[in-house]
């Protein structure tokens, strides 16, 4: 029998870094806070000491050049990971990500492969406010050429980071600090192929379909458990990969349940939740839908600071449960 080891989401990420840095000399990590004990939680502790400061590089406050440097290194055969301790800071690095990394393969006729991994951390709450709380995954899902990964489970936190780094395309790996305390027993590492990754069903159900990714999946799983106690059976589908989006499993599920609720921790307009609804309804005969699909997202407002407003701002398990009640009414 395989021996399984206990991890939390944070240490699972760290173990992926360790695996990559040990096995692949082309891997290096660059970003702000990598020599600090606090910047990225417990996900990179002492990696600089173990692998040296020339492979785990802390940097000046220069998101644009650091990201571009990683893109360039990847074109030259390295497998760099650039770390942004907050996704908000990446707004300085959009050219490197969107104009360069995402386009290079296409523009060069498939000859250039910027296999860079961009680790973007969602780090919200704690009264940090509008510039320190953003979850911009929908933006990156909009950009062809990027792969976007959003692990919800401890296992995916580790294995999808490895798959991202080994992938020859530019990958946005988006983790959420609200997940770091989740624990699980993990089997030994298997290298996965990102191009053949599917969404996963984290709980079978027949009354309705819940779709989500990242931290929202945790809420969905918790809501499913609460609903089970009321004899409501929700199917939970965790997206994992937002770009290219694979919708088949969701379509199948909604064909079965006839009801769809999408939960997303990003903004509503032109966001992921709307995309899931649109992609699903496009593919389903209208008479199989029992109710109009519904989404729970952030309200279309920047993140507030004051704790009372933060409480009103973020989706909760309770909101999901009560939306499900509405959806199942008559």
């Amino acid at each position: 029998m395989e021996t399984r080891v206990q991890y939390n989401y944070g240490t699972a990420i760290r173990s992926a870094f360790e695996y990559l840095l040990e096995k692949y000399p082309e891997v290096f990590v660059i970003g702000q806070g990598l020599w600090s004990p606090w910047y990225v939680g417990n996900t990179m502790t002492d990696l600089d000491k173990k692998f040296g400061k020339s492979r785990v590089i802390d940097t000046p406050v220069s998101e644009s050049a650091c990201t571009g440097t990683a893109v360039g290194a990847s074109l030259a055969g390295m497998k760099p990971i650039v770390v942004h301790p907050r996704m908000d800071f990446m707004l300085y690095a959009m050219d490197a990500i969107v104009n360069q990394a995402a386009k290079w393969s296409h523009m060069t006729g498939g000859q250039g492969h910027p296999g860079v991994t961009i680790r973007a951390i969602i780090n919200r709450g704690g009264e940090q406010g509008a510039q320190h709380s953003q979850a911009l995954h929908s933006w990156f899902a909009h950009v062809p050429g990027l792969r976007v990964v959003m692990p919800a489970t401890v296992g995916d936190a580790r294995d999808l980071l490895i798959a991202s780094v080994l992938c020859e395309d530019p990958v946005m790996y988006i983790d959420d600090r609200w997940l770091y305390d989740q624990t699980d027993q993990l089997a030994p590492i298997k290298e996965l192929d990102l191009a053949s990754l599917h969404p996963q069903c984290l709980g079978v159900g027949s009354d309705l379909t819940l779709v989500s990714s990242g931290f929202s999946t945790r809420l969905a799983v918790e809501a499913r458990e609460a609903l089970l106690k009321e004899d409501i059976s929700a199917e939970v589908i965790d997206l994992r990969l937002l770009n290219p989006l694979r919708i088949e499993l969701i379509v199948q599920s909604v064909m079965k349940t006839g009801r769809l609720l999408v939960i997303d921790g990003g903004w509503r307009t032109c966001g992921l939740a709307g995309e899931i609804i649109a992609s699903t309804v496009e593919k389903i005969p209208v008479d199989l839908l029992r109710k109009p699909p519904v989404r729970i997202t952030l309200p279309d407002a920047p993140a507030p600071t004051s704790r009372v407003l933060e409480k009103a701002y973020y989706p909760t398990k309770k909101m999901i449960v009560s939306k499900v009640h509405e959806l199942l009414k008559c």
Partner: protein, 351 residues
């Protein structure tokens, strides 16, 4: 191409500049008010440190204790029609313009009566009636904004100026270099104040830049600049005044590099001794000898215009203000949750 002054030298050496501030020729009344302002800022921040440690404050506070002479010295030449911008470490910038302690406290506590009506916390301050046009925690996020606010003043035909406080870390962001060039080409009246405290969070400047004098970039952009001991309020004041006069009289931007040190760590109450390089207990002890408040007190005491008793009285008065303001802020209401969407736009969508 020879450039001779890329390094701060003694200005960055914590064993230097422990001497009392030379106050010859300065007005005693004025000096006492500078002292009082600096002490107020210090005590306010110490209070915030304690309350954050206790958990009463829910969000991060970036304390500038040790750096008070910069904002106080610069603000001497500012007025409330100027357009001043800060960053994540901006309590001093607001208070030095006469900002309300209660307004700051209420904001840090997320109350409706706060400077930003409870929508900003410590990292997003707004006090436009006093000339403070805002601070935000995106590093370098306000540097171009201040340039624009200065440009606006020029276009409106006033002699008001833009001001932006930023750090030795912020100058590593490309937008700062773009802003310096643009300000110079448009001859914008804006003062770039760099509080060079030698650190960007855990990273000493020697880990981030090949030289520690950031004014080399002002030189490269042909912007008039000065570099001063940022823990000497008189020096800061005089240099700022010269640069501000230059901008007010239509001669374009100025750049003031004030070398200083923060006595707390990067965020909250800790000292960050264990973090990064060159932030040793010894260094910190030395920088404490260079405390801008202590050194001004010594200078005034030696000149016979201020005493320990006066200082104690002053301190007691400030503490009373702080206690009252804090107590009031704790009683103040939070914003109502149903206002969450009210300020996304100036006007709500209409029918």
């Amino acid at each position: 191409m020879g450039v001779d002054n890329f390094d701060l030298g003694a200005l960055a050496d914590p064993t230097k500049s422990h001497d009392s501030i030379k106050i010859d020729g300065e007005d005693p009344v004025f000096l006492k008010s500078q002292f009082r302002q600096m002490l107020t800022i210090r005590l306010v921040e110490e209070h915030l440190a304690a309350m954050r440690k206790e958990g009463v404050i829910g969000g991060p506070v970036h304390l500038g204790a040790g750096q008070e002479a910069v904002a106080v010295g610069v603000s001497t030449s500012l007025r409330n029609t100027d357009r001043i911008f800060g960053a994540h470490r901006s309590h001093s910038h607001v208070l030095a313009m006469g900002g309300s302690i209660h307004g700051l406290f209420a904001e840090v506590l997320g109350r409706e009566t706060g400077l930003s009506r409870g929508m900003g916390g410590s990292m997003h301050l707004w006090d436009q009636p006093r000339g403070f046009y805002g601070s935000v925690p995106i590093v370098a996020g306000t540097v171009a904004l201040a340039t624009g606010a200065g440009l606006a003043a020029k276009m409106s035909g006033t002699d008001d100026i833009g001001v932006v406080y930023f750090g030795d870390g912020a100058i590593e962001e490309g937008v700062v270099h773009e802003s310096l060039n643009l300000a110079r080409m448009l001859q914008v009246p804006v003062l770039f104040v760099i509080e060079n405290n030698l650190f960007s969070s855990h990273m000493h400047i020697s880990l981030r830049q090949p030289h520690d004098a950031t004014s080399r970039f002002a030189a490269a952009h042909d912007i008039r600049f000065d570099t001063v001991d940022g823990n000497n309020v008189v020096a800061v004041k005089n240099a700022a005044q010269r640069l501000i006069n230059h901008s007010r009289s239509g001669e374009g931007p100025g750049f003031l590099e004030a070398v200083t040190y923060r006595l707390y760590g990067h965020v909250d109450w800790r000292e960050d001794i264990d973090v990064g390089v060159r932030r040793s207990t010894e260094d910190l002890a030395n920088w404490r000898k260079r405390d801008p408040i202590k050194r001004l007190f010594q200078g005034m005491e030696e000149a016979g215009i201020f005493s320990l008793d006066e200082q104690n009285l002053c301190e007691a008065e400030i503490r009373k203000d702080i206690d009252e303001a804090w107590a009031q802020a704790l009683r103040d209401p939070y914003p109502s949750p149903d206002t969450l969407l009210d300020r996304v736009y100036t006007k709500q969508v209409m029918g």
